[in-house]
Amino acid sequence: MSLDTLYTAETPEGIALSLRPAGLVPRVLAYGVDLGVRIGIYLAVTMLALPFGGMGKALLLVTYFLLEWFYPVLFELTRSGATPGKRMFGLQVVMDSGLPVTPAAAITRNLLRAADFFPFLYGFGVVSMLLRRDFKRLGDLAAGTLVVYRDSVALHGELPPAPAAAPARALAPREQAAIVAWAGRASRLTPARLDELAVLARSVTPNPQGDATRELLGVAQWLVGRRGGTP
């Protein structure tokens, strides 16, 4: 069982897209921000509506109704697919096919909020999110939607420059991939850790006496297709 919670959706072209579902904490925080925004809007409408008597009260009640049920629907149907709170935390609502959320799904997931809220403070919603790998609440389950991170984190960068050198022996595809992936993480790992890992691959570097990191980076450069001398 893999540790990460990547969710793969297949496109009609046969490509598997990975989505990164957002867990409980960012979603609760986003909900908190949205609650603040809603209260803000409500207070603003109150200020405006108060002088208008019964008509103003009607406006206030209708505003309350719309904020309670349709505030998320409206924002999820915009191009960003997220309420202000979700946008703030880099989240987005998508269909579980990876497509933008449809109006039917947005309405379904937000009307079923009432079921998630039961018995109090989103009890069922929280339990459902904690039990599932894709962190869907009940409304998401029924609507077929998913709350994901909008941007993916770049853990791997360009390979750092090093004089290319052919490996000492033929490498299997998996070994090649491992070495290139190691080199891609060079900017994120400490030099000591990078070296520690490089020493494990001593057997593939052409010169067993040289600096392990530098040697292996050279092999990685060779593997991605650079040939000869300094890049």
């Binding site: 496109t11 490509i15 897209l17 009607a58 191009r79 379904t108 039961f118 991939a177 593997l223």
Partner: protein, 342 residues
Amino acid sequence: MTPLQFETRNAPLWQELETALDRAEGKKPDKEARDKYTHKGKPPPLDGARLAELYRRSCEHLALAQARAYPIHLTQRLESLTQRAHRLIYRRHDYGLARLKHLVLVDFPQSVRSHRWYLLAATLLFAVPLLAVGWATWRDPGFILHLADAQQAQEYDRMYDESARALGARDASTDWQMFGFYVMHNIGIGFQCFAGGLFAGIGSVFFLLFNGAQIGGVAGYLAARGHGENFYSFVVTHGAFELTAIVLSGAAGLRLGHALLVPGRRTRLDALKHAAGDAIVVVYGVIGMLVAAAAIEAFWSSARWVMPQVKYGVGAACWALVIAYLGWQGRPLRGGDVSNAG
């Protein structure tokens, strides 16, 4: 082909796709791209066919990059490009007024008819307690105390009393206020009836029974206390929309519950998703009907200057209208061309 060759050869294509996506998503072009266009005036319009082609190519490249275990930063770049293009290309466009018209004229009544057994069950769940409790309170007004406390019962008396004219004394601004209240309160009840279906239908059953008993209790009590005419002439018109809508949303909720309990040949989750997709069309209609009901309740039902007989007449017409709409609207033309009827 080495990753470097692959990247050098295809980078212009990815760059083109990226620029096209940026434009389609409404991002401002970066300075470099802007400078390129300054001497040509406006940038050329987005070419959909070209975009689709670029998308297919990038899908191809992504598959190759994954299969050949190319460096991860390369795969990731392709993946995010593909994902963005996928979202753009498969986005649905057919929303708007035409879609809404089709929903009102065809989809909603058709969807109601396709849920007819759920509708029957919901109607029974609502009407049986309504009639039973109504009869019980009519026989013995004290029965209302099982459902409401004495203070509330007095409140009902006061509201529909001939002499107090509690309803007749309302002015226009109070009408508006009540409209707001009805929208918030009644549509909330409708949504609860629907959402309750997610708990194997128990929630919907509960809300239907509860609301049925509550409404029956009030109706029976007021009839027994001699405020019958005031009450019935008040509720008859908007009841056509409101009671129907509550039963409909209960039926939509029962559909969800049934899908969970008896998923058939799908998994439970899949059955639920499928059922929710069908049932939500009913809920769209419910929203519309409840807004109509709130408007009627606030501005017409409460108008004391209208004779009760007129209200009964209009009410009967509304009931007939609602039933005819749900029963017959949106059927394909008999013997007609299917393509015309749809």
